[in-house]
Symmetry: C2
Subunit: 312 residues, 2 copies
Amino acid sequence: MILTVTLNPALDVTYWVDRLALRSATKVRRVRARAGGKGVNVARVAAAVHGPGTVCVTGLAGGSRGEAIREAIAALGVREEFEVIAGESRQTIAIVEENPQPTELREPGPTVTPREWDGFTRRFRVLAKEASVVVLSGSLPPGTPPDAYATLVRAAHEVRSSVIVDTSGPALWDACTAAPDIVKPNEAELPGVDTVVMSSQESVLAAARLLRDHGAGAVIASLGRAGSVAVTADGALRVSHPRVDGNPVGAGDALVAGLALALASGQPLGPAALARASGLAMASVAGSGEVDPAEAERLADMVRTRWIGDGQ
Amino acid sequence: MILTVTLNPALDVTYWVDRLALRSATKVRRVRARAGGKGVNVARVAAAVHGPGTVCVTGLAGGSRGEAIREAIAALGVREEFEVIAGESRQTIAIVEENPQPTELREPGPTVTPREWDGFTRRFRVLAKEASVVVLSGSLPPGTPPDAYATLVRAAHEVRSSVIVDTSGPALWDACTAAPDIVKPNEAELPGVDTVVMSSQESVLAAARLLRDHGAGAVIASLGRAGSVAVTADGALRVSHPRVDGNPVGAGDALVAGLALALASGQPLGPAALARASGLAMASVAGSGEVDPAEAERLADMVRTRWIGDGQ
């Protein structure tokens, strides 16, 4: 007989989560509780090799967790001879992240001089004339004027280009005053939505309508796995799709690319265009930022859309 | 043409690591640098769908990173029209953990009364008589005497059982004074090895010899992916094996199970026994803590051992 001694056994509880959100709520996808402690693990392996009845576990176990530990060991076909004590045995909590977001470090960017900004806006006016669709994306580097995006939206409209704005915070709010054709905030970028609690469809709709009231022609709020909500002059659409495994970084940009392609081809922002754009976002997740157009078309077929209200 | 504007583009650098070690050194397995920023991402996807030459990227880019960003965009078949500025464009660093260790929360365990400890040691003496091998594993719960393991080692030897001790810190050091047959520290548990820097084979050997000098019959120092170093009366053996993907939690316990099975069958702690024990540890990694004995035998054939010195 092999006797293993575990003086401080544990009920080992494992939680599988998608990603551990620090200082926020995390949904647990799967739970496992099993008897643990090094000697218990040794016994489990020795019994797997040597067969049941050849290994005995002893040590100190107490309370309801001690009870659970002893039952779990007996169920392994391992003899259990714990000394029962008054104290409650410990548990360990292991949190396994199945789909961890990368840890990112972001610099603010270079400081732009007024002269450089002027040079850029001149260049922009020339380029926008050639463009059917202009996409303004991302944060403003230090030194650019706070109304940078509103200026560019107006300049693009003057030369009859459509404009999509994908930014956040004051830059998004300011851009709306120049009436861009589409803005695409994500959940965290919507004004007034508290992302610590799960935001309801109602609060997303309310925030999207707020951006339209402020001047945006259409608002496509991307909600990650939950799809998106689109509010246009024609009404509000809920866009949902099956779960795709992969890396979600860049999926929002792929969605914007799909919206730009729809505007470039004169397609209205209805169910078909939104499904196609969502297919690109899903393909970006599946390809970790690299989009396979054929895969995107296949995925677009799995997107579901339904009208959930009007545009106001 | 679709024109995307990225005022604050970035050189997106991604590091793939096994696991990010906070306040310690981490080895980077793979590096990728590519042009980033939301508008650049939009252009990449739009160009993948629409074809080269249909998408143009503008914005502000400067310095050597700006240069790298512009070159990378041109290489995508996307027209690049950045306004060059004096400041240095930013980079983002994304750290992707390929094999994240679970986040664990461990309780200290229940407090044990002297009476409970006496009850246990009586039970232990009875059980040890039946055992050919006793394995003492893990931490001591609060309330147990500091020489708990030394006491149990002596009690087991009195009834002619072999003893393996797998613990750390003062409990390991104290257990050695009672001359256990085997101790199995891991790298972090070896006395005097600084784990912030990669410990050399020499420092592992020196620490293992220190534990033998202190009374341990044999020392098997497990080094995770790097295999193990065994120091016995017959000499010092380096045990190495190919990389196995999976969950390393419990692999050390599987190694101990293999050592116990070797002692139980009277096998000497030479290359064959160590290869078999390592095969169990590798199978535990592959099975995320569950060992398939047939798989363990297959993996044991891939273990290499070589003598690297004597036992002193």
